[in-house]
């Protein structure tokens, strides 16, 4: 992993997009392994990485089986949703952390991600807010509605049996 402290220019605001840096960098500040940040390019290190990817693959495969197995129990809706989302989040984190190598990435990428997560949260807050509101607006509105309502002209699904 590259030491962040060797990049004092990181905080310099971008005033010359694409242009040469205002403060010329000495070659010593551009270590050759820098091109793949966070990755030591020695063959041993890469081979070690490959082993790690295979372990992550195995973990993802096992978790896929786990999530399918859980669904066979047909748990109550909210428990099923919570469990499925927890497993999916763990799987997603494994992909993001190791395959997308976010375990060792630059600050700017993290900053982009923090913004993304925030706005994703805003998107998800919408329906959540609606859900809370619905309970107040329509007395008797059942947020856990999973049983078919008697009077409804739209059939649930074509293949519903």
């Amino acid at each position: 992993m590259t030491d962040h402290a060797t990049h004092p220019e990181q905080g310099v605001p971008n005033q010359h997009a694409g242009g040469p840096p205002r403060e010329p960098l000495g070659e010593h500040e551009h270590p050759t392994h820098e091109q793949h940040h966070g990755h030591d390019d020695s063959p041993e290190a890469i081979k070690k990485e490959i082993r790690r990817y295979l372990v992550v693959f195995a973990a993802l495969a096992v978790l896929t089986i786990v999530t399918v197995a859980i669904s066979q129990f047909h748990l109550p809706t909210w428990q099923a949703v919570a469990l499925a989302l927890v497993v999916a989040t763990v799987k997603g984190s494994l992909v993001a952390a190791f395959f997308m190598h976010l375990v060792s990435e630059r600050k700017l990428i993290y900053a982009v991600l923090v913004l993304t997560v925030f706005f994703f949260g805003v998107l998800m807050w919408g329906p959540w807010h609606h859900r809370d509101n619905a309970e107040k607006v329509w007395p008797g509105y059942d947020v856990n509605a999973s049983k078919p309502a008697p009077a409804r002209n739209q059939s649930p699904a074509g293949g519903h049996h």
């Binding site: 896929t64 992909v95 700017l108 990428i109 706005f119 998107l123 329906p127 739209q154 649930p156």
Partner: protein
């Protein structure tokens, strides 16, 4: 060098269709000092951020429709879980092959790199074939996006995801076709291209990791 590439580009408009020897795109290999990453990597992450918003809006819509629907079918009642589980393995497998392609290119093994790129492309193809089987079965049962909200969200989400898989396959095909030339001339830049394409591909995998339980298992 990276810095001089800009000046070359300024009066090199005539060379726009020319070989990349003349105009060098800056920071394709070395990290740009102020961002700390090469441009392609920052670019793909910004693109992925926009993708999160695209899929996020659809997920948000799904939550809204589902929580306000008096009735919502269980995915496992109408969708084909074994096929979708197989597709999950195919896609996770392709995430591994693309990262192995990258690792092998960094090891200097172009042959293995290409084999893993080809395997990734094959996995993408396999995913699309299985998806097509699923879709045609649904259509033969007269289940269309217009059937109900469940199928509307199912087809929109899996359809958009499928388009992303197709897009990735096009890029992998391009990378494979140009691999020899790029690797010989600009090895590091090509390796970075594979890394960046891989980042996109992992994102497509990640979306499926959430789509699968949400649509099929709940």
């Amino acid at each position: 060098m990276d810095g001089h590439a800009i000046t070359a580009g300024a009066h090199g408009a005539h060379g726009a269709h020319d070989e990349h020897h003349e105009i060098e795109i800056p920071y394709t290999v070395h990290a740009r000092p102020d961002t700390g990453v090469y441009n392609g990597k920052l670019g793909i992450w910004l693109f992925l951020a926009s993708e999160v918003m695209l899929f996020g809006a659809l997920f948000s819509t799904l939550v809204l429709l589902r929580t306000s629907a008096p009735v919502w079918p269980h995915g496992w009642e109408i969708l084909n879980i074994p096929l979708a589980t197989l597709n999950t393995f195919v896609l996770i497998g392709s995430s591994v092959t693309v990262i192995l392609a990258w690792a092998n290119l960094r090891l200097g093994d172009l042959r293995k790199g290409k084999i893993f790129l080809a395997l990734t492309l094959l996995c993408g193809l396999g995913f699309m074939v299985i998806k097509t089987i699923e879709y045609t079965t649904k259509f033969s049962h007269h289940q269309y996006p217009s059937t109900n909200n469940f199928f509307a969200t199912y087809f929109v989400l899996t359809g958009l995801h499928g388009l992303h898989v197709l897009g990735g396959m096009v890029v992998f095909a391009y990378l494979l076709m140009t691999a020899n030339k790029w690797y010989a001339e600009k090895r590091d830049q090509f390796t970075n291209r594979v890394e960046v394409t891989g980042l996109y591909w992992h994102f497509v995998d990640l979306v499926w990791i959430f789509l699968f339980p949400i649509l099929y298992l709940l």
